[in-house]
């Protein structure tokens, strides 16, 4: 099925925005304006944007550290993200949490991430459980990686979702590596989606660098979930195109592997498709990129104008009152 032009154009914007924001993050880290760690998501734009776009406004997602696109699609403003990266009061966590951690905002249907992978998959099972108990036609979406797949919680949460037949969609982003650990050291199988059978749920394999493929698979799974037909596991095959975090030079990745995935860049593919369908030309792309840079310039200026939190507030907010 061919996706509507409007949707593709929108997706293209989100994907480009995601990459530009990510590159800005990398640059801000080089400038020592972002301190501590920084995670790049280059290569994940198709899957994070597509998964996010497959959800409805009342649905809830728990993206992880490379799902910048999902945060954006769900309406988290780049200004709040940049302020978060910069440790400012205007950041999503008000300076309390680091980089992409803790970027939760339930008004946008976003669960904040913690490091302990794949924690938010468990939380999403609970969100989906709540939807089911309230008989609301809403869907909850979890994300975990090939590394996260080895954690006991991935198993427990998938099992939970299937026992209770919850409206849950699980995006497994198989980007070939968990930090330096290649897939073959993480598991003795080829397809993580094959694990869906262990829970009696459908498992789907898609090309994670193909927006349309991810969007279609995710939309079907969301529709199934919304219809009360239970959870789905979608494995998106992709590649982490940068180091685990910014300090990691990825010497452990065979250059041929990287090179072959570079051929499959999700944005290049999306743009080829758009050009094919007459939805993009050089001028339009140049204009879009300029627009995005302007948006991000403004967002960054606002983020940098946001103050650092006052050290005296360090003990505030531990408890809700």
């Amino acid at each position: 099925m061919e996706l509507p032009a409007e949707l593709l154009t929108r997706a293209h914007y989100w994907m480009r925005l995601t990459r530009a924001l990510d590159e800005r993050g990398t640059f801000l880290h080089k400038q020592s304006k972002i301190v501590g760690g920084y995670f790049s998501q280059i290569g994940h734009e198709a899957l994070s944007v597509a998964a996010g776009m497959a959800l409805g406004p009342d649905d809830v997602a728990a993206p992880m550290h490379r799902d910048l696109g999902t945060y954006l699609v769900r309406g988290l403003h780049p200004q709040r993200i940049l302020a978060q990266f910069l440790g400012r009061v205007g950041g999503v966590s008000r300076g309390r949490d680091a980089n992409l951690h803790g970027m939760g905002d339930l008004s946008l249907g976003l669960i904040g991430f913690i490091s302990h992978l794949p924690a938010s998959t468990g939380v999403i099972a609970g969100v989906a459980h709540a939807f089911k108990l309230k008989a609301e036609p809403r869907v909850a979406m979890a994300f975990f990686g090939d590394g996260g797949a080895s954690q006991g919680l991935a198993h427990e949460a998938l099992n939970w979702a299937s026992v209770f037949q919850l409206p849950m969609v699980v995006i497994c982003e198989n980007n070939q590596y968990a930090y330096s650990t290649p897939l073959a050291r993480q598991m003795h199988i080829e397809h993580i989606a094959d694990r869906a059978a262990a829970y009696g749920m459908p498992g789907v394999i898609v090309d994670g660098n193909d927006f349309c493929a991810v969007y279609q698979a995710a939309s079907e799974a969301v529709a199934r979930a919304r219809a009360g037909a239970g959870p789905t596991l979608i494995e998106c095959k992709t590649m982490r195109m940068r180091g685990h975090a910014i300090h990691d030079n990825m010497a452990y990745v065979p250059p041929e592997l990287l090179a072959s995935w570079a051929q499959r860049d999700p944005i290049a593919r999306m743009e080829a498709l758009l050009r094919d369908r007459g939805l993009l030309d050089d001028a339009a792309l140049t204009a879009l990129l300029a627009q995005i840079e302007a948006e991000l310039d403004a967002a960054q200026a606002a983020a940098e104008a946001s103050p650092y939190p006052d050290g005296a507030t360090v003990t505030e907010g531990v408890y809700a009152v």
């Binding site: 970027m103 468990g122 939380v123 609970g126 099992n159 939970w160 531990v318």
Partner: protein, 349 residues
């Protein structure tokens, strides 16, 4: 020889000193008081739900939740797979959508299996992105029942140390009900340590309705005295009260403070009793090192130093797993006699 044949036979009835009994009270066992609180909250607030292993059809390993699935249905009394970590994470997720889940750990000992959800996610969430996590975790803990190293643990100190949690440990039926109501209504994750030993062995008056609410963070002075303060919580309260009664017969006036809430500690009440008597004996069943007693001692040594007339003394479970065999468990668990001996020594200081 047989051991503990009458462990559950002698039922102690505890008057609540200090508090004049509210107009409407009932005599309930500690266990019934917990069940009553659950039922009361389930009726009062449709967002409250229970989750746990075998809590529905079976009514729970200790039958605490007996009858509740019949009254509230399996949407609100949820039998779960045996997966503590997913269960606790799911509770967090439910709380994000308006529920107030009360999760039963089958034994407090299994709380470690779901540890990450509590200490990493639930405890930190409000600080990080401002979203409250109103979940209650019921942890049936402590020993004296010949249940061995994995069904007798007092592991509250792990959570008292972890910022962002609240921890309560009722010692009476009234507090069992009153603190559970408060825990469920609290917008924060609360770990509720209930003492299996007291489930059926302890009865007491329990105020009905809203009158029974016991605020989190407030200790209760169970006995007033002049010469020595015993600070304790949980099942040890009763051992301490017995010891205090023994000391009274020997002409000593002893104060007994029941902490009730372990996090946040009622520093005011702790310091007040320490300043009053100048001699403090801290008693808990949990392992000694880095237990709650250490924290209480440190608070006093810092903030009531000038009032002290003797060393701050601790009576606690030794630093070993809780052993199974009766003579070993008896040697492990503090009793009135152990407390008496320590108190005598401190009184003589």
């Amino acid at each position: 020889m047989t051991w503990d044949a009458n462990l559950h036979v002698g039922v102690t009835t505890l008057a609540e000193p200090g508090a004049a009994p509210a107009s409407a009270t009932r005599e309930l066992s500690y266990l019934e008081a917990i069940r009553d609180a659950l039922r009361y909250e389930l009726r009062r607030d449709p967002s409250v739900l229970l989750m746990g292993e075998d809590i529905g059809v079976y009514g729970g390993a200790f039958k605490v939740t007996q009858g509740l699935i019949e009254e509230f249905g399996e949407q609100r009394v949820i039998d779960t797979p045996m997966a503590e970590l997913a269960m606790l994470y799911a509770a967090i997720g439910m709380s994000f959508q308006g529920f107030r889940p009360v999760v039963e750990m089958q034994f407090a000992d299994f709380i470690s299996t779901g540890f990450d959800a509590i200490v990493q996610f639930a405890a930190t969430n409000h600080y990080r992105w401002g979203q409250p996590v109103p979940i209650t975790i019921r942890a049936p803990g402590a020993g004296g029942l010949r249940a061995g190293p994995f069904h007798s643990q007092c592991n509250e100190a792990w959570f008292v140390h972890t910022p962002g949690l609240k921890v309560v440990a009722p010692a009476t039926p009234a507090d069992a009900r009153g603190l559970l109501l408060s825990a469920i209504r609290d917008p924060n994750p609360v770990i509720y340590y209930e003492t299996k030993y007291l489930y059926r062995s302890l009865k007491g008056p329990v105020p009905e309705g809203e009158a029974g609410l016991v605020p989190i963070g407030r200790a209760a002075l169970r006995r007033e005295g002049e010469e020595l303060s015993i600070i304790t919580y949980g099942a040890m309260l009763h051992e301490a009260l017995n010891a205090a009664a023994g000391l009274e017969q020997a002409g000593h006036s002893v104060e007994v403070l029941d902490l009730r809430t372990l996090k946040p500690l009622d520093e005011q009440a702790i310091l007040a009793t320490a300043r009053k008597t100048g001699k403090v004996l801290i008693v808990h069943e949990a392992n000694r090192t880095c237990g709650v007693g250490g924290e209480v001692a440190a608070l006093i040594a810092e903030h009531a130093f000038a009032y002290l007339d003797g060393p701050i003394t601790r009576v606690a479970g030794p630093d070993t797993p809780v052993p199974y065999s009766p003579p070993l468990e008896d040697a492990h668990r503090p009793r009135a006699e152990t407390i008496l001996a320590a108190a005598r020594q401190l009184l003589a200081y």
